[in-house]
Amino acid sequence: MGVHNSINRGKEITLTIDGKKCKSTFGKTILEVARENDIYIPTMCYLSKVKPIASCRMCVVNVEGVEGTILSCQEKATDGAVITTNNSELYTERQNIMKLYNVNHPLECGVCDQSGECDLQNKTMEFDVAEQPFTTKEPHRPIQNWGHVSYDAGLCIMCEKCVRVSTEITGDEALQLHFGGYSSTILNVKQEKNYASLGEAAAVCPVGALVDTHFKYRANAWELEKIPSSCPHCSVGCQMNYEVRHDKIYRMSNEAEFTSLCGAGRYGYDYANHNVSKDTKAFEDAVDAVKNAQSILFAPHISNEEALILQKIKEQTGAKLICGEARGYQKFMQAYASVTGKKLFGGTLKGISESKAVIVFGTRINDDAPVVKYHINMASKWHRARVAYMHPLEDAEMKNIVTQFIKYEPQSEEGVAALLVEMLLRNVDVSQNVKAFLDDLDIGNLSAESNVGEEELEALRKSMLKKEDFSLVIGADLYAHPRAEQIAKILALVEKYAGFNVVCVPPAGNAMGVSLICELDDKATGKTVGYNVEADVVLSALGNGDLDMPALNQQEGTITTVDKRVVPMHVAQPYGGYVLNDIANALGLYAEYTIDYTKTLPVEKGFKAVEFDALPDYFDSVGNEHRGYLLDVCHTEVEEMFEEVDEIDAFDGAVVYICNPKDQFSAFTNLCEPLKEEPFLLGSSQFATATKLSDADKVTFEIDGVTFKRVFKIDTSMKGTIALNPTYDMGLSAPLVSSYRFSKVKMMQDKKRGS
């Protein structure tokens, strides 16, 4: 007693399970060690990605010298323990539990969506429960429709998995337990909209209690073919399976035992470019246009292979390659690398989830990359992490996770970065250049101009004292900032000198892959061809261009994820038209299939010369990810050159911030029926006052040459004079909006009726 022990975590132990000697480390549960060693212990409530729930009691084992049965999911394996996972006594206990689970459980498997993949069904058979020996009076509990998901309390076995993912993973805490003994149920306390917990919950529900409303009664589980793939919507690139019958996607699933999907991944699957056939005339015109184009504009929602094809076309025709968001990220990361000496940031999502403190800077992360937010939430729940959220706009959806909101003025990010770094490196040995840069900072002035109080940073510093394992999550506000490269260099110091797990969340789709593969240009000139972008000639997977293209669920290829992993996508929907590779071939390049390019992705950028078909795509029994491969770390020359922090232009008054709502990322998600939502310019009542707008007023404004006609809506959860403006509904124009996310726009109010 007395000595801080960190619970002896990591100490090597050896134990015997069913006669097999198993080596492991202290801190793991008996069940984890068993699974590492491929020893089966039945469970109903166990879910690998959350902490042990311990509600089902099925995983009981015997331990030599210990009386009674031991819960293997929760109890830690100890050195020298001798464990028996099965004998007649344990079998009987488990059988009895299955009898209890079957109390009153309706025998309606024939019409239950879970049938065929139901844990209750499987374990009832496994433990030979041939009848329902106990029954009792059933309380009346009607089926509830919660939006994406429906809940049938009569089928619910109260395993609590859904509540745990809501608490520990998605962090929206929409689902709660209603304790009520025999009439216990799950509550959805946030029914006003579809929270991410819903899809996550349905994915982990072992029975038919929580099922996808869109899928209900449409197909049997065993009729669906699972096509593994990766989600192309945001930069996280989550694992997912298309579930397909007769060329139609019925639903999405994922390896929910180990990994998660946000609402866009789970419900944004129906965006294929349907019923396309080969239009030879259009194709020839497109080939001509590409040949003669001085600039090729494209959206970052393409595969690595397509990016390589575009790069090769550029090399052949000399056309400029324009992809605004990826270009910003590319320049940012190049500047970042000039400080760290490594071409990519060093952090990982797992690193975030293991942090004791997380600083979020320059991103509305819950909307920009929901699964990154989940990892911040994991840190909050598992490690009581301090979460500092630095942004001009508070996010009500993050409130339960954030411990300190640090508000700054739009455009002052360079100064904020400098203030942050100065605080984090205060007692750290740094190079001469860095020291000179930090010493020259006029802290008082930066603090005044950015509106970040020195006492706020001091409070942040104090909250991190005596702690370790820190993360910095930075995002898209910074990549398109006029001072992006300087900001990148400053923040790189946090990785280099403060040892932070830094994750620079790519701004969109496959922006990271594109930024690594393509030599991008800043500004388009001359004749243009657009790939999913408005241009003189348009190639479009949205079905509204001069030549049709396949959507990402209609083609094979790889994308690069925020975890710096190159992961495969497979064909879920048929496509009968031309693809980018056909154009490339017509221009004299040659590859039979687009995926022939997979093995030629640039190794000098970290890619590996691996055939597409050789890419692994699975999680092992304890959840280690084997999807594609991790990019190699590539080194680059270090030069720590800083400029003086720029004077900040005051950015007061009404400001518009480019931000899509949660689950909407692009024109592709906008096509998906379950995600449909009306786009609004969303602002606080303070914004309304500042702009003299009323709720439901129509306004017109322009950003990056794109004209927005919006209905203004007051959101009472918002504060301040910054409004949210989405782009997901802007179709081919959306990728053109790629400058700094905050802008002062001139708002033209449409004439009101009768005035």
Binding site: G2, R57, V63, L100, M158, G180, Y182, K356
Partner: protein
């Protein structure tokens, strides 16, 4: 006729059913044979067995009602399959038999379901509920058989017997504030920290404070200790409290506070320490108007001005204080000293008055030439006032003005003396010596291992088995002390060892300050003489320890002024009970207890924790988590909080060690 007819309580098997009364075997347990006042109990049934006091007992109905109570409890739980469905079936089958519709197959099913519940339930309540039911089915078999064979209801089915149940746990029972410890630990385990805090606040408003400086008597009653080491109960309490402040969530109440009653009733509370704050909170939660009168300019009582910042940061304590004072019906008047005259006015004006002031007179060490006016003689309370008022509130001047580079001797052995010596170190004293009459083991038992250990690390010199015989001075200030040494001589008769002075072992200590911290006494001047308030033999205010009313109707007392100098958690427990009694007293003028409170007292008497019980079904050898502390060099010159608290991982891991030892007990009256 009184006495135990039949009992299986805690493996004591008594069956007096067919014996003449003079041959009856008596029980060794303090079972609740009388419920309250002159109301006799018919039976007591609980986690450890069943005791029958009335020969006419309806055993079938007793079992049925116990299952029903469990069913009701599980209305608040339902967290595991065996408990949720098993409990329901247990009740369904027993009720079927009791109403005369049962079969012998039902008995078989009952035994089968009981077995599964006992083997696999998540918490002890599910594991223990079947035990007394099986006992009744075995030893009162004929009653069950009659119901089944004749298909008739049991003999008093739907009769007028009342069944009063209470859920407790060994830790909860031992906690003077009866905090629902398993619930707040479960909140940590579930990572729903708001629920953890709400569970604590059901009976303990000072969650920050008692998550930091409670001597945790609960941990002495933790069943986990029977297996390996007790749960670190106290430190887990801090997790929920810290969550509330870290995330700036609105105040979390155990339930929605009732709207202000505005009915003219009002309660006065004298003293804004732990007891006063607690009583104010629970009265306000009921919507009752409360006015607090506090002598000091700062709130919080002895925890504010006595307990140092490095143990109990004032910004955290202020959260607890604000939590109470921001209740809509609570108001406070500071710098308001209540003397006997003022107390009479208050007593006349208010419907009830609660005395909840502390013991702030430092007792003497009883040495020759002891003169409190002598320079260098500094009472512990006055010394700690000065230290804390300066560091926490910027009031006064730093005590280092007095103590820097000085030699300080403290006489004590309890928490206050530990605070004195460790503060003296922090104020820059050259040498700090603690004199204690007894040994190291006892000082640890009287405080905590951590407290003693940390004081040693910081450089406090402990001299055990010692006491001051004489104090020397130069006419102005103290110069040195003459100290006697003692040894512990075992009693050859096997009795308690005696402290015997060692002749010729006396020694002298030259010092600048002598700080007596042996104990504190009550300033009784506040009590009007003509009220003749009855006092205890140790000169604290006398109550019956159940309803906390003094010998004067309408005047209540809780906390140190009632008990003598004791712990925060003791003050909280007493004050919450007093608040409950007052909430009824102000309407009906009667001192009454609720059934829950009566049961609470019965269980405390019976003792819930059994240190000899063998624990099964849990993996032994999982070490107790120990939080990180500031290194000695980092802490001994300042007031930084020493205990950094659990990391999230440590907290969850420690919460997973908790065995959820809920028990349900019931009395048939």
């Amino acid at each position: 006729m009184s006495g135990v007819v039949f009992s299986t309580w805690r493996d004591e098997f008594i069956d007096n059913r067919d014996k003449p009364h003079d041959e009856w075997v008596e029980t060794g347990f303090r079972l609740p044979e009388t419920y309250h006042g002159d109301r006799a109990s018919k039976a007591f049934i609980g986690w450890d067995g069943v005791a029958i006091f009335d020969e006419d007992i309806d055993a079938v109905e007793l079992a049925n009602q116990y299952a029903a109570q469990y069913q009701e409890y599980s209305e608040a739980c339902g967290r595991c399959a065996p408990g949720r469905w098993g409990g329901r079936i247990l009740y369904d089958l027993l009720d079927k038999i009791a109403r005369g519709e049962g079969s012998h197959d039902d008995i078989t099913h009952l035994k089968e379901i009981s077995q599964t519940m006992m083997a696999t339930s998540k918490c002890e309540i599910g594991k223990t509920v079947p035990k007394p039911i099986l006992d009744l089915m075995e030893h009162y078999k004929e009653q069950f058989d009659t119901c089944i064979d004749a298909q008739i209801p049991s003999k008093h089915y739907n009769g007028d017997t009342s069944y009063i149940a209470k859920v407790t746990a060994p830790c909860t029972d031992m906690c003077p504030a009866h905090v629902d410890i398993p619930a707040y630990i479960e909140g940590v385990r579930d990572m729903v920290f708001t629920e953890s805090l709400q569970a604590t606040r059901q009976t303990m408003p000072l969650a920050h404070t008692c998550g930091r400086v409670c001597p945790h008597p609960c941990e002495d009653a933790c069943r986990r200790a029977n297996l390996d080491e007790p749960i670190s109960i106290m430190e887990l309490k801090r997790i929920g409290a810290d969550y509330e402040t870290d995330h700036e969530v609105p105040w979390l109440h155990p339930h929605e506070p009732k709207p202000p009653r505005n009915d003219g009733k009002k309660v006065a509370i004298i003293g804004a320490g732990p007891a006063g704050l607690t009583a104010a909170y629970y009265l306000a939660l009921e919507g009752i108007k409360v006015d607090i009168f506090e002598e000091l300019p700062v709130n919080g009582g002895e925890v504010a001005v006595g307990v140092p910042e490095y143990r109990m940061p004032v910004d955290k304590y202020n959260k607890d204080i604000d939590f109470v004072l921001e209740m809509p019906t609570v108001s406070i008047t500071n710098n308001h000293r209540v003397d006997a005259k003022r107390l009479k006015e208050i007593d006349a004006e208010y419907d009830a008055t609660l005395l909840s002031f502390g013991t702030r007179l430092s007792k003497k060490v009883r040495a020759k030439n002891e003169n409190p006016d002598m320079q260098g003689y500094w009472g512990a309370i006055a010394m700690l006032d000065k230290v804390n008022l300066w560091h926490k509130y910027g009031i006064g001047s730093p005590a280092s003005n007095e103590l820097k580079d000085k030699v300080v001797v403290c006489v004590g052995g309890g928490f206050t003396s530990m605070d004195v010596v460790r503060c003296a170190i922090r104020e820059g004293a050259k040498k700090v010596i603690m004199l204690y009459r007894r040994d190291e083991k006892t000082i640890i038992r009287n405080t905590t291992y951590e407290e003693y250990h940390e004081a040693v690390e910081e450089g406090v010199e402990f001299i055990f088995h010692s006491a001051i015989e004489e104090i020397f001075d130069d006419g102005e200030k103290i110069t040195k002390l003459k100290v006697n040494r003692y040894e512990l001589v075992p009693d050859p008769e096997g009795g308690r060892a005696q402290l015997v002075k060692i002749e010729g072992a006396d020694f002298e200590i030259e010092c600048d300050y002598l700080i007596p911290a042996v104990s504190q006494a009550l300033d009784t001047q506040i009590l009007p003489e003509e009220w003749n308030i009855e006092m205890t033999s140790w000169n604290s205010i006398l109550t019956n320890g159940k309803d906390y009313m003094t010998s004067r109707p309408g005047l209540f007392a809780a906390g140190d002024c009632e008990y003598g100098p004791m712990t925060i958690v003791n003050a909280v427990g007493q004050a919450r009970r007093a608040a409950s009694v007052i909430s009824r007293y102000i309407y009906d003028g009667k001192c009454t207890l609720t059934d829950d409170e009566i049961m609470e007292d019965h269980l405390a008497k019976l003792k819930v924790y059994d240190k000899n019980e063998k624990i099964t079904g849990w993996m032994p050898g999982i070490p107790r988590a120990v939080s990180q502390k500031l290194e000695t060099a980092e802490r001994k010159t300042n007031q930084k909080e020493v205990n950094l608290g659990f990391t999230g991982e440590e907290a969850i891991s420690e919460a997973e060690r908790c065995m959820r030892c809920y028990y349900i007990s019931m009395v048939a009256v």
